[in-house]
């Protein structure tokens, strides 16, 4: 075992230890396990919600995107900031409704709002289908980090198995508390590592930020802004908007809302989360620094930019520390996703068919499902195939389809029916699947459109289909009921 691998192993043990400790002194009922008894104050809710920022997607994908694409990577800075602005207004009513109705999961919300267990089933399935690729992404990142930062001493396959076992163990014992406690360790470590690298690389290799960007612009003119074709300004605006809408639609992000002890906690965090987002700048700086230092990475290899540059620049012990932080960025979000997926399956799939199941029984089933979900994700991880970013973008397109019927259920005056909500979500998801499978863009679907429109994110189409179906079916359902002379079928 080399020095780097010792550091990485220590991080895994730390996560395991903290994850187990998090349970201390609690009786783990379903409400404790899934939403921590709705007891978290601002700091822990902050860390759970910020958990989305520092996943392997941003650590490897963010720096890799800066390395491979340049300017378009700035979209990652913006979408979460806009999502936090929306959160101030959108999340408190969700939190209040969830507390008053004792909800545990995202589909529960749709079941109660639209008074339709069938809709809950659909939402749960959409969530699970989107979460599994997200988990695969974390496992893949974990394998890459351990293999490179450990200098190949441990294969990525072995690393993925060990990582999955660690996350499974502490999630089964401590539920969401385990994720929250390990998130504390993760964010402290990653904060230090990312800021250090983002300052050190530009200064060490170029003499400063300005000199670095000047050197990049000299070598590749226009690389640090948005290109005029492809990932253009039109792509940027539409992608930021779509991902901002989808941000809180991830079942695990939605679930983190429930853990808050009050709505004020959520509103307060809307101030601080955008600033925290800026730490990502330093991730980008590392990726930009790698452009002229470790040139020649192409395709999926761009995800390796930050690690390759670290191996080039530092001694093994320091690479081990970077790898350790990286491992936590995979384990913590991975554990959140594991718990959420198991909860969806137990609370919203199983319970839909066994209505009389007690909370205790649902909890037992959820815990048994944790290793099952982990194994499914392991299977897809080791199968290979899709790149990291492709996986995430498809998942994002799926969960974004929940946005219209969620937002339209928050107002007092509701004219969307459960039929409309279900049809809209299904139509949107089907469109996403069709687009992904045929690798379509707006350009290939509508060749006659002006080039600016063709560069819009293709997810816009699915969302538009969703909204149109939602409105038409709701109107039709209202019309049909009105003719029957009863209004009882409408949601209150």
């Amino acid at each position: 075992m080399n020095g780097a691998l010792v550091g990485i192993a220590a991080a895994a043990l730390l996560a395991l230890g903290l994850g187990f400790l998090a349970r201390r002194g609690r009786q783990m009922g379903l409400e404790q396990w899934t939403v921590a008894g709705r007891s978290f104050g601002a700091p822990l809710v902050f860390l759970l919600m910020a958990g989305e920022i520092y996943t392997t997607f941003t650590f490897l994908g963010g720096s890799g995107f800066a390395y491979g694409k340049g300017g378009p990577t700035y979209y990652i800075l913006c979408y979460a900031a806009l999502a936090y602005v929306m959160s101030y207004f959108m999340l408190p009513p969700i939190w209040r409704f969830a507390r008053d109705n004792h909800l545990y999961s995202q589909p529960d919300f749709f079941v109660r709002k639209y008074d339709s267990p069938a809709l809950g089933l659909i939402v749960a399935l959409v969530g699970i289908i989107a979460l599994v690729p997200y988990l695969v992404l974390q496992f893949k990142g974990l394998g890459i980090i351990v293999e490179i930062a450990g200098y190949g001493a441990l294969s990525s396959t072995a690393a993925v198995w060990i990582g999955a076992a660690v996350a499974t163990a502490y999630v089964m014992v401590s539920g969401v508390r385990g994720s929250a406690w390990t998130a504390v360790a993760k964010d402290l470590m990653i904060l230090f590592v990312v800021v250090f690298l983002g300052v050190y690389f530009p200064v060490h290799y170029y003499g400063g930020l300005g000199a670095m960007f000047a050197a990049i612009e000299h070598a590749k003119p226009g690389f640090t802004v948005l290109p005029s074709r492809g990932e253009s300004v039109w792509w940027f605006a539409s992608t930021v908007l779509l991902t901002a809408l989808g941000f809180y639609m991830w079942p695990h992000s939605f679930g983190s809302i429930y853990t808050a002890k009050g709505a004020r906690v959520i509103r307060l965090n809307a101030i601080f989360l955008p600033v925290y987002q800026l730490i990502l700048l330093f991730v980008f700086f590392s990726g930009f620094a790698a452009i002229l230092q470790v040139p020649g990475l192409t395709g999926t290899e761009i995800d390796l930019a930050l690690l390759k540059l670290s191996v080039k620049a530092f001694d093994p012990w320091a690479v081990g520390a970077i790898g350790a932080a990286g491992v936590l960025t995979a384990l913590v979000p991975g554990s959140m996703i594991l718990m959420t997926t198991a909860t969806l399956a137990a609370n919203n799939l199983y319970r839909a068919f066994d209505r009389s199941a007690t909370d205790a029984r649902v909890l037992r089933i959820a815990k048994v499902l944790v290793p099952v979900v982990a194994l499914v994700a392991l299977y897809f991880t080791l199968q290979g195939g899709q790149t990291i970013v492709a996986l995430l973008l498809m998942g994002y397109s799926f969960v974004t389809q929940l946005f219209p019927s969620l937002v339209l259920s928050l107002g007092r005056n509701r004219w969307i029916t459960r039929e409309g909500a279900a049809a809209g979500i299904l139509a949107g998801v089907a469109t996403v699947a069709a687009i992904s499978l045929t690798h379509s863009t707006i350009g290939t679907l509508f060749p006659a459109l002006p080039v600016e429109i063709k560069e819009l994110n293709v997810g816009i189409i699915a969302l538009a289909v969703n909204v149109v179906v939602l409105v038409v079916v709701s109107a039709a359902a209202r019309f049909a009921t009105a003719r029957q002379g009863g209004l009882t079928r409408f949601v209150d």
């Binding site: 806009l82 602005v85 101030y88 209040r96 605006a237 004020r264 955008p274």
Partner: protein, 65 residues
């Protein structure tokens, strides 16, 4: 009345519409390409705007949930 909430629209305008007008590398600000500097400035302003909204919003008075 609740007009202060309209401030929340500014970050959307700045980050979605803004790049159409500021998509350029120069002048650099603190060494950052102009587009990046614009976005970073607006993220800081977003936090400031949310702080103002938080202070003005009666929902956040003491004793509220």
């Amino acid at each position: 009345m609740r007009m202060f909430r309209a401030l929340a629209l500014l970050p959307f305008l700045a980050m979605l519409i803004g790049p159409f007008f500021v998509n350029r590398a120069t002048p650099t600000i603190f060494g950052l390409p102009f587009l990046l500097a614009w976005l970073v400035a607006w993220i800081l302003l977003t936090a400031a705007i949310m702080a103002v909204i938080f202070r003005l919003d009666p929902a956040n008075r003491d004793g509220s949930e």
